[in-house]
Symmetry: C2
Subunit: 191 residues, 2 copies
DNA sequence: CCTTTAGCCTACAGCCTGTAGACAGCCTGC
DNA sequence: GCAGGCTGTCTACAGGCTGTAGGCTAAAGG
């Protein structure tokens, strides 16, 4: 009756990540995961501390994977080429793995996800390097880029563009061009 | 024993909106609201259909209020002045009413929130009118602006800027300037 | 007054979380 | 080859939330 199902923290997390993509990050619960694994809910508490812990693990793994994807996309590129590769990689990741993307969007304890998060922002900073911005402006550019990509992908994945023309892909292409232009003609800070 | 508490759909929604700001949109439940109103959970089911309905009502009301705030901020302004008023109004609303802001960010049935949502995007479009963009580019500009403001506010309210320098307000000012510049020097579409 | 309406109640079924303790399969040492 | 310990999964349960059913009573209208 108690045949081993081969659960480990890692296997549980992997299954949770898949579940998040299948049903949405917010719908990941201990019970739902147990059903999918063919196991009683209580069994999972030996491996994760609870629903919150489960979700945190999904977030950390998703951030790591996003970092991998960005690193791969940026290898050997610079300037507008790098910018397009970066933003397209983020959008691709979000569209292909909606649950994981949602997971990267929830604030998570710095102690647990700090490294993965810092890696992503370092990669973004690297992608902008070819634009030759003044050093003190780089952080603003990273935030602009991060905010815009984040916001767009969020609106797109939640269907915000579904009922208006033209389609999201067209705006995405134009927005990338505008961002590239803005980075090349970065205005002085005359405060 | 059954003294009337004076509940109506409207009063319930107002209380729910306040609760959202106090504890976060995701934490709004029938039970939590009943506790706050000093009433049994079942009593609320005479006024709202359930937790989903409750949250939808919060979203609709928040979108309407956001529209009001934007309309007020934009009255009598144009160009960069209008742009700054617009983005500042959104950011202010989000900071002052975090729960309501979250509520505006969840996708909601078009039939229920369509008007309020359309009003917000119409106001944004109006704010950009002074920049004299080509008509077919306006939608892209609205989406760029919406995405950027959305993404920034989202990251800011979830504490994403808390552990890096300089502070969010500085980046916000710079980003507004960059957006203004991008709108004034909108690149041609050479696809 | 007295009836009707409508608001709030209690009770309950069902699901989810998280804890405690029982029990079975696997590994280790001998 | 086997005894004993460990580890993983189980059942059982307490507590909370959702949503339904049906009862009771305060207010409104004739």
């Amino acid at each position: 009756m108690a045949a081993r199902a081969g659960l480990t923290v890692d296997a549980v997390t992997t299954a949770a990540v898949d579940l998040a993509d299948a049903v949405g990050f917010e719908q990941v619960t201990v019970s739902a995961l147990a059903r999918r694994l063919g196991v009683q809910p209580a069994s999972l508490y030996s491996h994760v501390r609870g629903t919150d812990d489960l979700r945190t693990r999904i977030s950390v793994r998703a951030l790591e994977q996003l970092g991998d994807a960005l690193a791969l996309a940026l290898a050997g590129r610079a300037g507008r080429d790098a910018l397009e590769a970066l933003v397209d990689a983020v959008r691709d990741y979000a569209r292909r793995h909606p649950g994981r993307w949602q997971a990267t969007q929830v604030p998570v304890d710095v102690a647990q996800a700090g490294d993965a998060g810092r890696r992503v922002s370092a990669l973004m900073r690297g992608a902008l390097h070819g634009y030759g911005l003044p050093p003190q402006e780089e952080v603003h550019a990273v935030r602009l880029l991060g905010s815009t990509v984040n916001g767009f992908v969020r609106i797109e994945t939640s269907g915000g563009f579904d009922h208006s023309r033209p389609d999201a892909a067209t705006s995405w292409r134009r927005m990338t061009a505008v961002l590239d232009s803005a980075l090349r003609h970065w205005p002085d800070d005359d405060t």
